[in-house]
């Protein structure tokens, strides 16, 4: 008989538990396909960005710039559509330009961090300010709208099989991240770098190069997130994307990613993202006053994470007890 690995089960248990609780509390509105689509849709941008930024976390870094970088990318694409006219060609050029902005910014972060050995926190914190400023300059603090063409607006809202496109984008990016992290040498190197950079270097890992690539990927997904955001809201403005960095870190940490590096998985991140979506959805469906949502959110997060942490301790403790009792049993007999 195969034994159940309780340590691995704690996350699914919390997830299923949350779904059951919400279904009981709000049977009509929660348990519908439409609502699930909404939950996933509302966290899809966070999900996309988390799946990219998790590379940075795993390598032991942090990226605070993704929020305003997403904003800058959103503005890039809508500005190009605005200036070049609402044609499909300008959408494609805009998207490519936005992706370049994201990747280039990520590369700059990575190079500064590794070349000069500067804390990632500071570099990306400063970059956050730079991108906000750039966005303000480009837009002159105005909203740039892009309500056309359909090719652009459908990115954020087109439905396939009842689910909006951003959900599929999130899934695709999650699969790419999952594959590269768990099955390629690059991914393995990232875990090693985050777990022990010095030993990795000695083991022949190109630590600096890998770290730069992580930031590039993070910047790239920030840009994708920004494009999706722009399409969802059919506009871009300087404050687009602000605050996303905190949500992304929260989702990742709920999903078991350690900010010290080396620990975490993509499925974990998706779990974190979904849990955040469920909490918000639950708060909305139960009409919790907005002033009190922080309280509920905070308490639920602490309980979920602490349960996860204690689960690990508890399980090993219980197992130990069981086995030592067995041992004692055999010893006395």
């Amino acid at each position: 008989m195969k034994k159940i690995d309780w340590e691995k089960m704690s996350k699914p248990i919390i997830l299923v538990g949350a779904i059951i609780i919400l279904s009981v509390l709000r049977p009509q509105s929660f348990l519908t396909a439409n609502n699930f689509a909404n939950v996933l849709w509302s966290v899809s941008v966070i999900g996309i960005m988390t799946c990219g930024t998790v590379f940075v976390f795993l390598a032991g870094g942090i990226d605070l710039s993704i929020g305003t970088l997403a904003g800058l990318s959103a503005i890039t694409v809508v500005e190009i559509i605005d200036k070049m006219g609402a044609t499909n060609a300008s959408v494609i050029i805009g998207i490519i330009a936005a992706l370049c902005v994201g990747a280039f910014a990520g590369m700059v972060h990575g190079l500064i961090i590794t070349r000069f050995n500067i804390p990632a926190f500071l570099v990306t914190f400063a970059a956050q300010s730079v991108y906000l400023g750039l966005s303000m300059v480009i837009t002159n603090n105005r909203i740039v709208s892009a309500r056309e063409p359909a090719l652009f607006t459908s990115i954020g809202s087109m439905k396939i099989l009842g689910f909006p496109l951003p959900i599929y984008l999130m899934i695709i990016i999650a699969l790419i991240s999952w594959f590269s992290l768990s099955r390629t040498t690059f991914g393995r190197d990232i875990y090693a770098v985050g777990g022990n950079p010095e030993a990795s270097e000695i083991s022949g890992v190109h630590v600096s190069k890998d770290i730069v690539l992580c930031y590039v990927f993070s910047g790239l997904t920030a840009a994708i997130g920004g494009i999706v955001l722009a399409s969802m809201t059919q506009q871009g403005m300087a404050s687009t994307g602000s605050g996303y960095e905190t949500q992304v870190i929260t989702a990742a940490v709920i999903g078991g990613v350690s900010l010290l590096g080396g620990v975490g998985t993509v499925p974990g991140c998706i779990y974190g993202v979904v849990i955040m979506g469920l909490i918000n959805n639950g708060l909305n469906l139960m009409s919790v006053p907005s002033t009190q949502s922080g309280l509920v959110q905070g308490v639920v997060i602490i309980i979920a994470v602490a349960f996860d942490a204690l689960q690990h301790q508890d399980q090993s403790r219980k197992k130990v007890k069981r086995i030592s009792e067995q041992i004692k049993g055999t010893a006395s007999s």
């Binding site: 390629t184 777990g195 022990n196 022949g204 080396g262 007890k321 030592s324 041992i327």
Partner: protein, 505 residues
């Protein structure tokens, strides 16, 4: 000698994630004795010590101190009773100074504030007393492994305890410091202090111990009084098989033969830790590098492998000039086992599979971009088999393995690929006799397969046992080369201390 029991541990059980590590272990210590605790890597010695010192909680069993049952829940409880411990994995704090480390939690205070002058001078006194090459105000992060171990020893000694536990205190020490430690141990014993001594260096154990407990697979295997200690029997009880005795007081060295593999030409360090170093290693040859702590051996091999950049000089591999960096070195067939395995050797959170795979991705099968996980697993099984890593579970996180087995993982990952040159720095620090013998025969085997091997070691016996040729370093330069002659430990020691060259301290 008084037979009064100071510490008694009975029926101790402990398991980690379901795997029993200690099983009904009994252990006691008398007042004023040196009690050696022996056993293979992973036998459970360190675990027993951590239970006694309150770091781990036992699953079952009792501990009594001076005849009374006690519950020890933290190291602080233990200090309060009068027990202190020198841990195998060292408990030094890198960003603090030597003095701060030694007096951590017992800093001398003046008007409630730490009196640094007093603390430093107290530390200096201790250092002078034991003649250790340390300064109170150096940051521990600037020290090499050997010096860190000395700091850990000072930290334990400064407690004035009734029972002092030493878990492999000499694993990174060279002869001189180890000797002065032995002096201290004898002095303490004479003062009535009890000592639990754990070491894989057998001659130390035979020399020092009044009594000896052997653990095997987490169970008591034997308790021997001083007059019952017979080396051959001890080893057999420990590892459960026979070992041939080797006489290693002297050795006949080889003369040069075979083509040159590595040539180092006037290598000089940017921070002046070594200067103008030139030597050669031939295919099929094992070159030993000896020297005192801080002689600069580690720095040289790091520079050859390419972890650090040398300021000037050349490194040639098979007559090809290298501008070494680790990735390049690996691809050229160089392997490297670093001195500080915890920090530099492996990724603690990853399993044996992934640690072994890290340096071997070039030889693991792929489908498209995806790593073939079966091939990866096979490779790690090969490594486990090649060097007998225990437990033989390829998925176990290396960070939770016993010290000796961690070292085997670090070495094992090089044994599964073809090498031209293997550099090992303190290869057997913390490794049990059985495994040591295995490692020596692995090195011999590599050499006879034509691999060039460089062994840096502070253990003279080891140096004599494995080397075909020996160079001795002192203060960043090569002072002596032994080849084609009969050397003894005494000769090497003399060279290390600079006596032979007529150099006076």
């Amino acid at each position: 000698m008084s037979k009064e029991l100071l510490l008694e541990a009975n029926h101790i059980y402990k398991s980690f994630s379901g795997i029993p590590v200690l099983h009904d272990v009994h252990f006691d210590v008398r007042r004023g004795e040196v009690h050696a605790l022996m056993g293979e890597n992973g036998a459970g010695k360190s675990t027993l010590i951590k239970i006694i010192t309150g770091i781990y909680t036992k699953d079952a069993g009792q501990i009594s101190w001076e005849g009374k049952p006690v519950e020890i829940n933290s190291y602080q409880d233990c200090l309060n009773l009068g027990i202190s411990c020198i841990y195998q994995e060292l408990s030094v704090i890198p960003p603090l100074t030597v003095a701060q480390n030694v007096y951590l939690r017992k800093e001398p205070l003046r008007a409630g504030l730490i009196d640094y002058n007093k603390m430093n001078s107290m530390t200096q006194q201790l250092i002078d007393l034991y003649d250790f090459p340390l300064k109170p105000t150096t940051l521990v992060e600037d020290l090499g492994m050997g010096q860190r171990q000395l700091v850990e020893i000072l930290k334990g000694l400064s407690n004035d305890s009734k029972l002092l536990i030493m878990d492999e205190p000499t694993s990174s020490l060279s002869g001189k410091e180890a000797e002065s430690l032995f002096g201290i141990i004898c002095k303490l014993r004479d003062q009535g202090v009890s000592i639990i001594y754990i070491s894989h260096r057998l001659e130390e154990v035979y020399r020092l111990s009044d009594r000896l407990t052997i653990l095997r697979d987490g169970k008591n295997a034997a308790v021997l009084e001083k007059d019952e200690i017979i080396p051959k029997m001890v080893i057999e009880t420990m590892i459960g098989k026979e070992m041939e005795e080797v006489d290693d007081s002297s050795k006949e060295l080889r003369s040069d033969e075979g083509p040159v593999c590595l040539e180092v030409k006037s290598l000089t360090d940017s921070a002046n830790r070594f200067r103008n170093i030139s030597f050669q290693v031939r295919h099929g040859e094992i070159l030993g590098i000896g020297g005192l702590i801080g002689a600069g051996r580690t720095e040289i091999v790091r520079a050859i492998y390419g972890v650090d950049k040398a300021a000037s000089g050349e490194v040639l591999l098979d007559d090809e000039r290298l501008d070494p960096n680790p990735a390049l070195s690996i691809s050229k067939g160089i392997g490297f086992v670093p001195e500080d395995r915890r920090k530099q050797g492996f990724i603690p959170l990853l399993s044996t599979v992934k640690n072994v795979a890290l340096t071997n991705y070039d030889i693991i099968k792929r489908t498209g971009m995806a790593i073939d996980e079966n091939d990866e697993l096979e490779l790690s099984k090969k490594a486990i088999e090649a060097i007998d890593i225990r437990p033989a579970d390829p998925q176990k996180e290396v960070g939770t393995m016993s010290g000796g087995n961690q070292q085997k993982v670090v070495l094992g990952k090089w044994l599964v690929r073809g090498l031209k040159l293997l550099i090992v720095d303190e290869p057997t620090a913390g490794i049990d006799v059985g495994a040591k013998a295995e490692i020596y025969s692995i090195l011999d085997q590599l050499a006879s397969d034509g691999v060039a091997v460089i062994v840096v070691s502070s253990d003279l016996q080891e140096l004599l046992r494995v080397s075909h040729r020996i160079i001795v370093m002192r203060k960043g330069g090569i002072v002596r080369e032994f080849k084609d002659e009969t050397v003894t430990q005494a000769k090497i020691l003399a060279a290390m201390q600079g006596v032979e060259e007529g150099e006076k301290r």
